[in-house]
């Protein structure tokens, strides 16, 4: 087996691992392997690096989850399926040498070991790249938690949650103390400052009250939050936090409905931040160590800073936003930011279904944008990673693309070049361009589709 086949198989294993294996799925995987190898070979002719070709191959494949879901729901016990399964086994065995050891990895029968992990058939997978361990259907472990047979254990611990249908809070099972605060809204900005807690934001069923529910795994009034008000702001800060023993802390902050003029800043020194369904004037986030997950956010402006951890958000609407991640990736989807400033120091930036424009900068990671619509110029800079942009379907645009040591490409019909060399291209696509895509890569490539 070639190394590329092994890499394709490893990636497919990850995609397939969400589904319970059956004959149809195995057969479909084999079909995909052959098709993807050929697609990879085509991309490898034009792409600069092996990884880029592999990424393009999987990009082109698109979202196969619907097919997989459909296939995984079919019963695999019919006669036809058993037959094809056997045939499959026969093909698997005949087409490769049983033992294959190279610099790329070790392959013995259906045991594959390479730099990315270990795989034995479809049943036993140790995937170092995605931090995943799986033993058949019996044990699955990943970042989120572990599933053993039909029991599920969440690693982050139960943080409780707000049920939007019943408008009730569910407290974490480990709660020893529950402290509740209500604060009337005001024109002043609200600052929530937590040192070590898991913090969630949601919209409550009140009209002019902010609710803060704090849950602690030890009962002591010293731990409860304090509120102070100055001329400039209202500050809600975490109570005492003992250094000697750990107090599990989960905070659920409910913002009132119609708080569209609200200005909220949340500071989290250590711990995760979850935000679901809020609409404000201003929503600022500072997380020093921990991840930040968000969905359904609308605000005029926002300043998001994460020092170490990932930023992941879906359905976000801002007029202007500044998003920065020092060490970790930024991944957004269904995002509208008319004027965006996005930077990642050591991670990558990815936005799917993006409406907007602005400045994007990645130092060591890649920039990948799928644009639905440009609302202003887009200026992209990558130092050591590549830049890849899927331009809007029905919008003409100007472009100026340069790569210091890599190559530059534009794959569109109706391109007019003003300058066109391997590492610098300037011109426009279509007939009536309004905005420009400017991209500059130092050591990576630049590609516009």
């Amino acid at each position: 087996m070639t190394s590329i086949e092994m890499e394709i198989r490893t990636r497919l294993d990850v995609i397939f691992s969400k589904y319970t294996p059956n004959a149809q799925l195995t057969e479909f995987k084999e079909e995909l392997v052959a098709d993807l190898i050929e697609a990879y070979q085509d991309f490898a002719k034009t792409d600069r690096s092996h990884d880029e070709a592999l990424d393009d191959t999987f990009d082109q494949l698109g979202d196969i989850d619907t097919v997989l879901k459909e296939l995984s729901e079919q019963k695999s016990a019919t006669k036809d399926d058993t037959q094809s399964d056997e045939q499959e086994q026969a093909t698997e065995n005949s087409k490769r040498s049983f033992v294959d050891i190279s610099d790329e990895g070790v392959h013995i029968g259906n045991l594959h070991i390479n730099s990315k992990g270990v795989r034995l058939g479809d049943d036993i997978v140790i995937d170092g790249e995605h931090d995943k361990v799986q033993f058949g259907d019996w044990l699955h472990v990943d970042h989120e938690g572990a599933r053993v047979d039909d029991k599920y254990y969440q690693f982050e611990g139960d943080q409780g949650h707000y049920d939007f249908e019943t408008h009730t809070l569910k407290e974490p099972f480990w709660t020893k103390a529950h402290h509740n605060i209500t604060i009337p809204t005001s024109d002043k900005p609200f600052i929530f400052d937590y040192k070590d807690a898991s913090v969630s934001f949601y919209t409550n069923d009140k009209t002019d009250l902010i609710t803060v529910d704090e849950y602690f795994s030890r009962d002591n009034a010293r731990y409860f939050a304090r509120i102070s008000e100055t001329d400039d702001h209202v500050l809600i800060s975490q109570g005492d936090h003992p250094m000697l023993f750990h107090v599990k802390t989960a905070i659920q902050i409910g913002l009132p409905q119609n708080f569209h003029a609200g200005r909220v800043t949340t500071i989290n020194h250590s711990g995760s931040l979850y935000v679901n369904s809020i609409a404000l004037e201003e929503f600022n986030v500072s997380v020093y160590s921990g991840s930040f997950k968000a969905q359904h956010i609308t605000a005029k402006s926002g300043l998001w800073r994460v020092t170490s951890g990932t930023i992941k958000a879906s359905d976000v609407k801002f007029e202007t936003a500044e998003i920065e991640n020092k060490s970790g990736s930024i991944k957004l989807e269904k995002t509208v930011i008319n004027d965006a400033t996005v930077s990642a120091h050591s991670g990558s930036i990815r936005i799917d279904d993006f409406v907007g424009g602005g400045h994007f900068k990645a130092n060591s990671g890649a920039i990948r944008l799928r644009l639905s619509k440009l609302t202003r110029d887009l200026i992209l800079k990558a130092n050591s990673g590549s830049i890849r942009v899927t331009a809007p379907n029905n919008q003409d645009f100007n472009f100026e693309l340069s790569a210091h040591s890599g190559s530059v490409s534009v794959e569109r019909s109706n391109i007019h070049f003003e300058q066109n060399t391997g590492s610098y291209k300037r011109g426009f696509v279509g007939i009536d361009p309004e905005f420009a895509i400017e991209a500059q890569a130092n050591s990576g490539t630049v590609k516009i589709y």
Partner: protein, 112 residues
């Protein structure tokens, strides 16, 4: 300009049948044929393609078999059945008829 997805959606099966009617083929090659036939104006999402293969196979319009490649992974080939050929012929007739009527409907001048 790009062809609207709404316009082409109902024709996915016919497109695949037309390609397979000209010779057995496999997933990636079919997607390349579609790109080529449309002069790079249309690209069928591969996920959609695999869903269509499954649907057509269930209907009995196409059938699949494994190739005997000696090198690399084995390909899964699809071939059109005689029922599929019948369906293709019907779809073509329907298209020729509809094309004329729709064209008249959306660009014809009303004579008083």
């Amino acid at each position: 300009m790009e062809i609207s997805k709404d316009l082409i959606r109902g024709h996915t099966d016919t497109i695949i049948l037309n390609i397979l009617n000209q010779g057995d083929s496999y997933g990636y090659q079919v997607s390349k044929s579609i790109r080529q036939l449309s002069d790079h104006q249309y690209e069928l999402n591969e996920a959609t393609l695999y869903t269509a293969f499954r649907r057509l196979e269930k209907l009995g319009d196409i059938e699949s078999y494994w190739g005997d490649e000696t090198q690399g992974a084995r390909r899964k080939y699809y071939r059109i059945t005689s029922q599929g050929q019948d369906h293709l012929a019907t779809a073509l007739d329907e298209w020729r008829f509809a094309k004329k009527v729709i064209s008249n409907l959306i660009s014809g001048r009303i004579e008083l």
